[in-house]
Assembly symmetry: C2
Homo-oligomer: 660 residues x 2
């Protein structure tokens, strides 16, 4: 396949927006009829995401650097530079990638804030990793040096190319926000080394953990370097052909090496691996015009979302192998829903949205933003959930702000993990959150996808400026006010995403009241500076009933409020008794209690403790104790946003509530 | 604590029953008022377990030896003996233990059959392992020799002491069936080495996988060697005090090193580890008269059985860590229920029964025998289930009789596993099954615990002989006929176990019809040769309803028939449509269809495929598609014994069935 490409302009610092007036975007496909918005085009002013982005800037970035310093993950680079490698290297074989993800987060955040301290931190890290780069461009602190195993001897589990992928993504962030610098130079030399080693006609191999493909694809775009795109394409195409050696206790599907990407029907195996690969495959499909591959990835997304995805948007049903389960295998208690898988899901959906404009991708992004990504960091930005289960049976132990969590689970957020992929992934995602809020089409259409207070200063394809101010306290309320600040003299198509749950949304504009069904509500006309448009999304709480094929939540309902999934937390029960004894009365709709809701419940008698025997009884099903709840007096209990759970000390929690 | 012990007589060959007239028993506590029966006291003639024991003898034992030969696990001993160790050793670090479990099975089986070929095989294996023993008694093929890591450098995961434990159990089997020989000598020297290394005042350490405790306790009993008992006690007492180093991704509870054994409330962590430890702790408690420890272990058993045990008796809710879940965490689809955990559960319950005589322990043993242990081996004795889930959503792939299964899961039995603990564990359990069928009390009471056709030739404490012939096709029917062949002239207390499910059991004896509630039905009188007693256990199929706190099977029922859990298998559905669409009508009791049952079901409409969206709908719960089943025409479908599932090709399967 010949790769054609239009010469993408080199990027430039945000302060000189000459070549990229957007200020930088994470994903810049070579083809397609719409683009995302850049860090200089959107500024969040306040609200749900602005607060989180600010905490990320002021707390999380330094938090991550401190932990990696403390654990020696940064010093690993110094040891390579100083020829001091040997036994006892701290950290897993993939710890370099955490440094790179932090660097990516710093680069995006500097692009937004222009804070000199952030730039200094990034430059210092760049100098540190640059010293560790081998003369031929190879860069890794775990393999390839004195006292270490050789390069690429363990492609299955070694994560060398995975680490490179994250390095390249960091360089792309730098390139797109401030332009080429030492980090970009390091990345380019590393990418060249990878291409020499694994390029066409060279070593026919892949990395056990997809990620290199993402880095190469985007660096290829940012530098207009077709070799990188081609290398990404090669890695994607090689996958699923059994190039990885068998690993005991892991199946080829864990690595997505069971079926070629274009032949797969659904995502499977390790969820983050599957989603990173899928995102990169979209990049390759778009950039090479491989419509068959793109169509396959859309089908895989559909199959995955309709049968292997949680109400929260979370993906990954199994702690074992951090993996997808089978269709309908969606246990709430053992849901893994890794934070990184939510982030990776957003990466896939965003690329598919840019490629197709299909609103369902933006719908899933919103669901995942509010219910997976927002759930991970605690309010201070210094503790994180790794797994995001939908039920917690035991309150668990509080975590220490000073202790590394050795396992990716627990009923409390932890400051850092032994395998600590999530905190830096959260950091780089929050640093770019605003770039997912809107797109600009080649036809000048402006689509508002995610609602948050802020200002948009968009340059339309014809060079005209469109300035919008958005005011909303969404998702607390569903009222979104858009004020036109500047607008061209010609018609603009302004599109409002109406979420799939928002039945009954209304758009007020130009004196009209427009019923807006889910999808896009379009306004196509010439706008005047100063005018207001108002969108009312019905965020009133509502029951959600699972498909009956989801065995694990049979007989249960959940409650959602706008885009926010709610939960019942033991902290709100007072004397209502144990959480597991409550039964929701489904005939009485939930009532609003912003940011949550109230539901009417009844308390089922505690069954006699089986005590000596097994928890199964030879009684006809109709007579089991659950029905006792029907006669109990009703009781109103408060539900809170799932993303805010476990902020009031150890707690039990349920998203899905049994019904009477 | 001072250990007192009565001098236990040395064992002797079965052909010369001078010192141990029972012919050998797996568990011989130093204290207690009842004993199990030996391989020479009970002979199964035909029926459910006789057939399985016979297949074990004729097929499984040789099958296990062939695989270990083929994979080089046997040759590992030769390499140590020949000083040829080095890189590339085949098998995991614990593969020696499989050889020892096979040797234990061979020893017990020879005790039963007296087959010279079995004896030759065992002697040949003994010679082979004896050559590999170091001069000081240390015996391991993975550690401690040229090109290997040193002894005991990785107690957490190295499994050296675990392997020794299985060696000692093999020696005990030999000692109890044929007397001291080279295997016993090897074991004794190994045990002495362990005591020197880890004894009082020596290295304060434990093994990551309990098992050494069991081997030492029983070898201490068999050889009347208090040092071994004391060493077992030390290992049990040291546990739960954090002596194991932290292992990334595994918690101390995985190793039961979180809480001292006597302080624990419930079994937790890796199920086989927890259960082996619990069994050994009972041995220690009984032999040392530690009643507090025994009481704690009884409480832990109760808590585990009432909240962490499947209807099948299976234990272990998580594939991850092969572990127990939390209370009420009992998913049917991802049930691990490792075959070895079932075996280990029987080991615990048997010891507790011997210590207490409480019928509930024998009840759980029966449940576990029929629904976990009988489920693992296929009819030919050459393929095994490792995990025993209660639901299979996809038919999976057939296994090859020639391929090692790399993972401990799948919808078909496999001939061998990369981690192949289960086949040899099944072999040693089936080789001793008859020894769990009855006990003899110090007061002369004879308790019949498990029902199978066969003959019992018991020596009562006063030296009198009691001969019984049992005829039954249990569990196909519930009729058990006991004929007295020989009996003393004085009264004997004959006790029949009435299983907990057997409401309405009737005992016919001496012309009387006795209603026999669950527990024990006692007949205390002088018996005459030739007379018959008949027990009628109601094995008609019945619904079983799970405790409503088991979220994963809410709204479902199971069907049991006598001690046998049934399941619905897609192979029996013909044109009834997909298994997951069926809803059982709980108002219509199941009808008998030996060995299974029929239930009345209705087919729910397939919900429209959510297709583009998530599998959750904004509809009130009452209107979900499941209720459509209420109006569908009824349909009778056949259920089959769970232990016989997956014998008709790849299949989907459910034990718990949703109700209309």
């Amino acid at each position: 396949m010949t790769i054609t490409h239009s010469p993408t302009p080199a990027t430039s610092p945000q302060s000189d927006p000459g070549l990229d007036p957007t200020g930088g975007r994470p994903v810049v496909p070579r083809r397609g009829s719409r683009r995302g918005v850049g860090v200089a085009e959107v500024r969040l002013t306040d609200g749900f995401w602005a607060a989180r982005q600010q905490t990320n800037t002021t707390a999380t970035l330094a938090h991550c650097e401190r932990w990696m310093d403390r654990l020696g993950w940064l010093a690993n680079f110094d040891r390579v530079a100083d020829g001091a490698t040997g036994p006892g290297r701290p950290g897993w074989q993939f710890s370099d990638s955490e440094v790179y993800k932090l660097m990516e987060a710093l680069a995006w955040d500097y692009g937004r804030t222009g804070d000199p301290g952030t730039d200094r931190t990034l430059r210092a890290l760049t100098a540190r990793i640059a010293r560790a780069q081998d003369d031929d461009g190879y860069l890794n602190t775990y393999f390839g040096h004195a006292g270490q195993r050789g390069r690429y001897v363990d492609l299955e589990m070694g994560h060398e190319l995975y680490c490179v992928g994250h390095l390249l993504q960091a360089a792309v962030a730098r390139l797109r926000t401030t332009g080429a610098d030492a980090l970009v130079d390091v990345a380019r030399r590393t990418a060249d080394q990878v291409c020499r080693e694994f390029g066409p006609g060279r070593r026919e191999a892949i990395c056990g953990h997809p990620e290199i493909e993402l880095g190469l694809a985007e660096l290829g775009r940012a530098l207009a370097e077709p070799r990188y795109t081609e290398q990404a394409r090669l890695f994607v195409e090689r996958r699923g052909r059994g190039l990885l050696r068998p690993i005991p206790l892991l199946s080829p599907s864990y690595f997505q090496d069971d079926v070629p990407v274009r032949d797969a029907a659904v995502l499977r195996g390790h969820a983050v691996r599957a989603l990173y690969l899928s995102a990169a495959a979209v990049d390759v499909a778009v950039d090479t015009g491989d419509d068959d591959l793109l169509a396959s990835l859309e089908r895989q997304w559909t199959a995955t979302v309709s049968r292997r995805t949680y109400l929260t948007g979370g993906m990954g049903s199994r702690h074992q192998d951090e993996g997808f389960g089978e269709d309908w295998e969606l246990p709430p208690d053992r849901a893994y829903c890794e934070t990184c898988a939510g982030i990776a899901s957003v990466m896939v959906s965003w690329r598919l949205f840019l490629a197709t404009g299909d609103v369902r991708y933006a719908d899933l992004m919103e669901r995942t933003f509010y219910n997976v990504i927002a759930t991970s960091p605690g309010p201070d930005g210094r503790a994180f959930f790794y797994a995001n289960p939908l039920q917690q049976r035991t309150p668990g132990e509080p975590t220490s702000p000073d202790a590394v969590n050795l396992r990716a689970e627990g009923a409390a957020r932890a400051p850092w993990f032994d395998v600590s992929c999530c905190p830096t992934n959260v950091a780089r995602t929050l640093a770019t959150w605003q770039t997912y809020t809107a797109t600009v089409g080649d036809d000048g259409a402006v689509s508002l996808l995610q609602y948050a207070s802020g200002s948009l200063r968009l340059t339309l394809p014809d060079g005209a400026a469109l300035g919008l101010e958005v005011e909303t306290d969404y998702p607390a309320s569903g009222r979104v006010v858009v004020r036109v600040v500047t607008a061209p003299d010609s018609p603009v198509l302004l599109r409002f995403r109406i979420p799939s749950w928002a039945t009954g949304a209304v758009l007020h504009e130009d004196g009209r009241r427009i019923e807006a069904p889910p999808g896009f509500a379009d306004v196509h006309r010439t706008f005047a500076a100063g005018e207001r448009l108002e969108l009312d999304l019905p965020v009133a709480p509502r029951f959600s009933t699972p498909d009956r094929r989801i065995d694990a939540v049979r007989g249960c309902v959940a409650v959602e409020r706008g885009p926010v999934v709610l939960c019942l937390e033991s902290a709100d029960l007072d004397d209502a008794g144990p959480l597991d004894d409550l039964r929701v009365d489904p005939t009485r709709p939930p009532t609003d209690a912003e940011p949550g809701a109230f539901v009417q419940v009844r308390r089922a008698d505690r069954p006699e403790d089986a005590g000596e025997g097994l928890p199964y009884r030879d009684v006809p099903p109709g007579l089991d104790a659950a029905s006792s709840a029907d006669d109990a007096p009703p009781l109103a209990v408060r539900l809170v946003p799932y993303h805010s759970w476990a902020q009031r000390g150890p707690s039990t929690m349920r998203v899905f509530l049994p019904t009477t």
